[in-house]
């Protein structure tokens, strides 16, 4: 009996395990499919319950703090390479002989650029998210002063006589000029949109500022990006050289003879349907050239090839002899080497009509591209050694510095800065910045989402050309704001970046599960909104913002009529995410739209994401209600005075990261949206 009981017990347990296991697996599978809504996803609890957790102990376990070297400067004796560690919030001093980090200095948030005084004793570091510049005494190895800039300071340059510091403020789209003797900002010049790099001409008379995004242009017309040039004598803008059909101009270099200014640029084709990707019909990459000795004539040449594209050009340096230019293509992990004399030859021997044709000719690069040098992941800042023999390349997502011999054009080695090992989200970050998953490497995620934000362009990406135009949306802090896409049809980022992504955008094989998990992990957990400059850190609102908040939350019109609940701002845009995650008809549908309803976008840091509405047809926040909204379908606004609208806009501009708001009543999770 005993034996029979034992057998019965064991069999029962086995049956129970089998039963539970089978059904449990089914339950788990259904759960995963429900949550990801993408292609069948392998059962891996970590995908959602570890890798996409933004905060808390689990997040701490799966994340690491990387350095992410961004830009560099060489000391006056060539012995030290100073490196801004963008995610490590440090300035690293690397010995160029033994390749060791001699010391590091803690700086502000997201350090972008480092420049050195002429005597080499002082370093200036732009802290892009602290909105200031640290002045560092290199002998004492400590921060001695702080300069307050506009918002998002990035590229910098020091005047020849060391008297002035020129700073590009990316987020406020202006240029600060500091008197380094008094440490005061003496002037702020307006730039194009999102200025980034600053370069002084060899004769010291002019400063060139490259702007990353297009100036404001009429709806659905060719983007136009600017190189802002000002004179150092009177510090007035002298030229605004415009390149058509160009964006993402991060840096400029000028030949030693001063005849040419060269700026790498992305050439988006956002006005035509993204139906064809082959032969560069969606994105090209090249250089813009300003012929400074010929009345600032503008020429554009592509650095791509007919079947190979080199995405996301970032930095450019020119050899001291003026013969070669080096461009870092951060999406292709390649340094392109250009023959400048060959470029000059093209310019001088071609008619204007030929140059116009060459600007979109994929074969022209064969006439001036000397070499392509492969690097580690996401090459960004470049700097030449003092003798020009070595090119240092910040391999940002490898936490390394590549060393390239400029004579042999070969990579010699990489200096390991000692970053931690690979994590899932770091792998996802590399995928995000790599064009390796798009057809012929034509673009990466970053190409349309610089700084993981948005490119300010409207794209024709629908299955039917000319319809369903889409304004590029930000990817910053989109966790908990599902669904995605303007029509709200992608319920998760797994779905957004799954099969549909490869079908409509990348035109290659889909990401495998491991890659998809990594990409989603990066997007949902690592992309933070920069600090909102319109929001006092204490949370206190200005008078205008307070008045605006009252209007935002109002329940009655100026005449005392009750506003229907669904027509109140706060209904569809409640704190802390300022989206109800629903799709609604707010009267913004155009004739070219098939969808009747649109997903409510989050308003956090909305000040920094023009244009607005699903098709980008509103250039400013005001236009959402002055140009559109004739029938109060997008909130009751037509009874407002101009004062009230201005106050509302001031309040909207103050909305920042959802972590700033403690209103837990409106907190939602990814799961509860379904």
């Amino acid at each position: 009996m005993k034996k029979r009981k034992k057998i019965f017990l064991i069999a029962s347990i086995l049956l129970l395990i089998g039963f539970v296991g089978f059904h449990g697996r089914k339950i788990a599978t259904d759960h995963v499919q429900y949550m990801t809504a993408g292609e069948p996803h392998t059962l891996n609890c970590f995908s959602c319950h570890a890798y996409i957790v933004r905060n808390g102990p689990i997040a701490k376990m799966v994340k690491e703090q990387y350095l992410s070297p961004m830009n560099m400067a060489v000391s006056s004796d060539g012995s030290i390479l100073y490196v801004t560690a963008q995610e490590g919030n440090k300035l690293l001093a690397v010995n160029t002989t033994n390749h060791q980090i001699e010391y590091s200095i803690n700086v502000g948030e997201r350090p972008h650029t480092v420049v050195l005084s002429k005597n080499g004793k002082t370093a200036y570091v732009s802290n892009q998210w602290s909105y200031n510049i640290f002045i560092i005494d290199l002998d004492k190895r400590q921060v001695t002063d702080t300069l307050i800039t506009g918002t998002g300071p990035a590229g910098m340059a020091i005047s020849e006589n060391n008297d002035y510091l020129y700073v590009a403020n990316t987020y406020s789209s202006d240029i600060s000029i500091f008197d380094l003797n008094s440490k005061q900002e003496i002037r702020r010049l307006s730039a194009g949109k999102d200025p980034c790099g600053v370069t002084i001409s060899p004769d010291g008379n002019s400063v060139f500022v490259s702007n990353r995004l297009s100036n404001k242009v009429p709806f659905r017309s060719t983007p136009k990006s600017e190189i802002t040039i000002f004179g150092t004598k009177y510090q007035r803008v002298t030229h605004r050289d415009i390149f058509p059909s160009a964006t993402i101009q991060e840096n400029t270099a000028i030949t030693p003879s001063g005849d040419l200014a060269i700026v790498p640029q992305v050439r988006p084709k956002n006005l035509i349907p993204t139906a064809q990707v082959e032969q560069g019909w969606m994105m090209n990459h090249g250089i813009g050239i300003i012929d400074l000795k010929n009345d600032h004539k503008k020429i554009q040449l592509l650095t791509d090839e007919p079947n190979a594209f080199y995405a996301d050009p970032y930095d450019i340096v020119i050899s001291p002899d003026g013969k070669k230019a080096f461009i870092s293509h951060s999406g292709a992990d390649v340094i392109t080497v250009l023959d400048i004399d060959a470029i000059r030859n093209i310019i001088t021997t071609s008619t204007d009509e030929q140059l116009e044709m060459y600007s979109n000719h994929l074969g022209i690069s064969s006439q001036f591209v000397i070499a392509r040098i492969h690097t580690g992941a996401n090459p960004k800042g470049l700097v030449l050694s003092l003798d020009g023999k070595i090119l240092y390349v910040a391999e940002r997502l490898d936490d390394k510095i590549a060393i390239i011999d400029t004579k042999t054009l070969k990579k010699l080695e990489s200096i390991d800065l000692g970053g931690p090992g690979m994590t899932v989200s770091r792998f996802g970050q590399q995928l995000f910045h790599s064009s390796g998953h798009t057809f012929q490497g034509q673009y990466s995620c970053l190409t349309c989402h610089p700084d993981s934000h948005q490119d300010g362009l409207t794209w024709d990406m629908g299955p039917d050309s000319g319809r369903d135009l889409a304004n590029t949306q930000t990817l910053l802090e989109i966790d908990q704001t599902s669904p995605f896409k303007w029509n709200g049809k992608n319920v998760s980022v797994f779905m957004q970046d799954g099969m549909r992504f490869s079908k409509f955008l990348t035109r290659t094989e889909v990401f495998n599960q491991k890659e998809l998990d990594a990409l989603v992990s990066y997007i949902l957990t690592e992309l933070d909104l920069p600090p909102n400059p319109y929001r006092d850190p204490s949370g206190k609102l200005t008078n205008a913002q307070q008045r605006g908040k009252i209007i935002y939350e109002r329940t009655e019109t100026n005449c005392g009529r009750v506003i229907p609940v669904m027509d109140r701002c706060v209904t569809c845009h409640p704190a802390p995410l300022y989206t109800d995650r629903r799709q609604d008809d707010v009267g913004t549908r155009k004739a070219a739209d098939d969808d009747e309803v649109f997903d409510t976008p989050s308003l956090n840091n909305t000040f920094d994401s023009p244009p607005y509405l699903h098709d980008g047809s509103a250039f400013s926040l005001e236009e959402i209600w002055t140009k559109f909204n004739d029938h109060d379908e997008h909130g009751y606004a037509n009874d407002m005075t101009k004062d009230q609208l201005n106050d509302l806009v001031e309040y909207l501009k103050s909305l920042g990261s959802s972590e700033l708001y403690t209103d837990t009543e409106h907190k939602t999770t990814e799961a509860s949206s379904h």
Partner: protein
């Protein structure tokens, strides 16, 4: 000793009385002298402010010539520009000097005079509207700010950035004047005054809802000594203190707007058409006369009791201690003591220069003159004057004169 004691009360009483008498005499003398001084000051404020002007420091070519008097020049050798010379329209609303360049706002576009050539900007070039009413140059950035009938444009190195009431926080698209004050840009519009902080992009608007304005229509704006002055139609002058963010207004105390019942008691009229501030003096143009305010005292000037050619003043521009009034009957200038008026003959190119000082009036016929008597704007380029009129733009040159002598006729 006993005698001394007896004497003391007498001495004390006499001493007390004496002290009283002496004190009374001193007080009386002081009062008399003060009254006399006040009267002198009052009289000098009325007609002899040149006393203050003459003792103010005047820097020329970097040298402090504090002992040298300011001499308001007479302009002559007029040259006129019209559409025949390249102006987009003869109707010129405003003129603004920018170093070697001269900007003119006309009915048909923004004109630039540079290297002896006129160039026009219109909507085709990116200007927000072709009706240009006001221009200012930012002293910090060199950007050109253009006030038009359809919005505000900022011009810099070939690029226009436009602000309208639809795409920005600007109050009203009809902008009469724009003034750059450091990093701020102030504008007087048909719906109130506005301020743009060019660093933060924040707009502030001032109208009858939040400022002591009777009506929101504003025609002019100027700034100085930490304050901004707004010429408010029907509302006199609104003074805004930039530090304290507080207002006060200056309205005609008479209340009887068609009469100046009590002279020099405040701004002469509430229908103000312009303001200009320089050398710590605020000048206020109205359609019914001119006012001058030094921070303490107001003075009013009319065509019937001064050298002002007409009470209907379109525009006022302060240049150092003097002010230039653009009226419907010519242009007058005043330095506190002397008036110089320019009028044009109806049927010839010539005109008349009228110098008024106290009761003395000297008239001179001149061979060249301003292009028309309906004058709308004025600005200065070293010793050259530019005048915008409804029939073209005129340029005059200051007559050469010794600094220690009065202008010669």
């Amino acid at each position: 000793m006993k005698n001394m004691k007896n004497l003391l009360p007498n001495i004390s009483a006499k001493l007390t009385v004496s002290l009283f008498l002496i004190g009374g005499m001193i007080f009386g003398l002081s009062w008399i002298m003060k009254s006399s001084t006040d009267k002198n000051v009052e009289e000098s404020n009325k007609a002899n402010t040149a006393v203050n002007v003459e003792t103010e420091s005047v820097k020329t070519d970097g040298e402090d010539k504090s002992k040298e008097a300011y001499v308001m020049p007479v302009y002559d050798n007029w040259e006129t520009f019209t559409t025949k010379d390249g102006l987009p329209s003869d109707k010129a609303f405003c003129v603004r000097v920018d170093g070697d360049r001269v900007w003119v706002g006309t009915k048909a576009g923004l004109a630039l005079y540079e290297n002896n050539t006129w160039r026009t900007f219109t909507e085709e070039d990116g200007l927000v509207h072709h009706g240009v009413l006001g221009i200012d140059i930012s002293p910090v950035t060199g950007d050109v700010w253009v006030a038009t009938l359809g919005g505000l444009s900022k011009y810099s190195a070939g690029k226009f950035d436009n602000y309208t009431q639809f795409n920005s926080g600007m109050l009203n698209d009809v902008i009469y004047q724009v003034t750059c004050v450091g990093k701020d840009v102030w504008m007087a519009t048909g719906g109130g005054a506005g301020k743009l902080d060019t660093y933060t992009g924040e707009w502030e608007i001032f109208n009858e809802q939040n400022a002591p304005m009777h009506e929101p229509w504003t025609y002019g704006v100027t700034a100085g000594d930490g304050k901004v002055y707004i010429a408010a139609w029907g509302g006199g002058v609104i003074e805004y203190n930039s530090s304290t963010k507080s207002y006060r207004d200056y309205v005609d105390p008479d209340g009887q707007m068609e009469l100046d019942v009590f002279p020099d008691d405040g701004v002469v009229h509430d229908i103000t058409s312009g303001v200009s501030f320089a050398d710590h003096i605020l000048w206020v143009a109205t359609y019914f006369g001119l006012s001058r305010y030094d921070g303490l005292h107001w003075n009013g000037y009319f065509d019937h009791d001064s050298g002002l050619i007409s009470n209907f003043i379109n525009f006022v521009h302060a240049n150092g201690p003097a002010a230039w009034m653009c009226t419907d009957k010519g242009m007058s200038s005043f330095d506190g003591k002397r008036w110089i008026t320019y009028t044009k003959n109806e049927n010839s190119a010539g005109g008349e220069v009228i110098i008024t000082e106290g009761d003395k009036v000297i008239k001179e016929k001149v061979a060249t003159s301003i292009s028309h008597n309906f004058v709308l704007g004025v600005d200065f380029q070293d010793d050259v004057i530019w005048v915008a009129t409804s029939k073209g733009v005129s340029r005059g040159v200051a007559r050469k004169t010794n600094s220690s002598t009065k202008p010669q006729l």
